[in-house]
Amino acid sequence: MNIKELYQEIILEHGKNPRNLRKTDNFNKDAKGNNPLCGDNVHIYLKLDEKKKVEDISFEGSGCAISMASASIMTDLIKGKEEPEVKEIVNDFLGMIKENPELKSKNLKEDEKTKLMCLSGVKQYPMRVKCATLSWHTLISAIDNTQEEINTEQLG
């Protein structure tokens, strides 16, 4: 596999100029995650409206191009979706990174799937999978209000 398949333009671009890298005003859910071996860290802020629709999502943190791009693309794509949809998309993404060849979610449009599949290059780099999945695990932790800091070393 060519290294350029991992570092596609879209990843480099999102890594350099991450979307939603800020803190949501009046957020009502949040969670922290960290990858102790790499030092990547992320803090996700969510604002859900009364119908549990994502009114705003943002993140703060630092990390490699893969982890920043993953958080950037994720936050862009989750905005405006409802909580059950969000959970379903997260599971679909994690399933794709882990083993599935493609994304199956009906809650994702084709162009959204294409964008997410740009992160599939990490499958060939087992040490880098955690970089791509950190913000996604942290998002679930925020939604479920587990109050537990996500630690990639303790995830299965």
Partner: protein, 405 residues
Amino acid sequence: MSISNIKKEFPIFNNKIHNNDLVYLDSANSSQKPQSVIDRVNEFYTNEFSNTGRSVHYLAVAATNLYENTRSSIQKYINAKDKNEIVFTKGATEAINLVANTFGQKYLEQGDEILITELEHHSNYVPWHFLRQSKGIKIEFAEINDDGEITLESIEKKITSKTKLIAITHLSNVTGAVLPVKEITELAHSKGIAVLVDGCQGAPHLKLDMQDIDCDFYAISCHKMYGPTGLGVLYAKKKWLEQLPPYQGGGGMINDVKKDSITYGDLPNKYEAGTMATAQVIAFDQSIKFLEKIGIENIVKHEQELIEYGQEILRKNNSVKLIGSPKNKGAVLSFTIKGVHPHDIATILDEDGVAIRAGHHCCQILHDKLGIPASARASLGVYNTKEDLDQLNSSINNCKKIFNL
């Protein structure tokens, strides 16, 4: 043995990594192994295996002799006064934990201070933190200067009447700074303070003379010295090993065991409970022989040339920033590239067969001080060449190209 074609002693370099020659620049993490060390492990298990020190049969006696030969070789190599000042452990980490447990248990009380530095690896901080929690001791940090060095003055500044132990690295695994351990020891001893030197990086790259440094404890990691994993050495002055309590209890470390009392064995058995890493100890003798055949003076000269060359080419490479510029620098080149995270650097370099490490290198305190979450590190071994450093530089350029820098 000539250092110029030493690579051929290491079979790992016959392999291709992603279809490229291996450029191994991660020796501060762990060094590669010469064929003689690999063969020795195999030979011991194939033809000579027995446990040591217990049975009287032929193989047991032979294995015990081989095991003790390594102890003698190490004594000679580091110029320790007594063979029994060499204690085998499972690594340098265990060597430091041994001192923290025994010295801490016997001599430290609430309010006592241990002085370490901002350069320390977690293995020379966390064991003292345990004592901070269990005994209420304090840990003080000597501060680095702008060059990433620890000077005698920075140590002196933090010594108080409460300081009981100074625990310092010999050679920083991030900035490469070589600490003036002899001078620090002299200062410490003039104030009645004991000194532990973390020699993980010092031992593979510097000439060792325990009687000259005069430190009380020196921890060695064998797998960083072209030796097997699972093995470390604690050098400790005999007076300490005699005074301190045992570390772990078990077979081999006892003298007499009764229902109501136990007495412990003589040195060094007192600190080597249970079956030790026998094959590793026996093979490590070949690592010492390997180092002796090249000669530590030649190794120092070779690595100094490389480190100067490496600094020179990386300084010329714009957007690369070297971490630390100590006057006395050992075999480590840590750096950052503006706009590329160290983990991305490491993944991209790996594609060219260039193995480096990215992260905080178990030195989070230092990275916090430097204000960076991580760095990339190219570290040298006896087998590295100028061509390896040229390849490093060219792969860094490729990395910059991928990131449009």
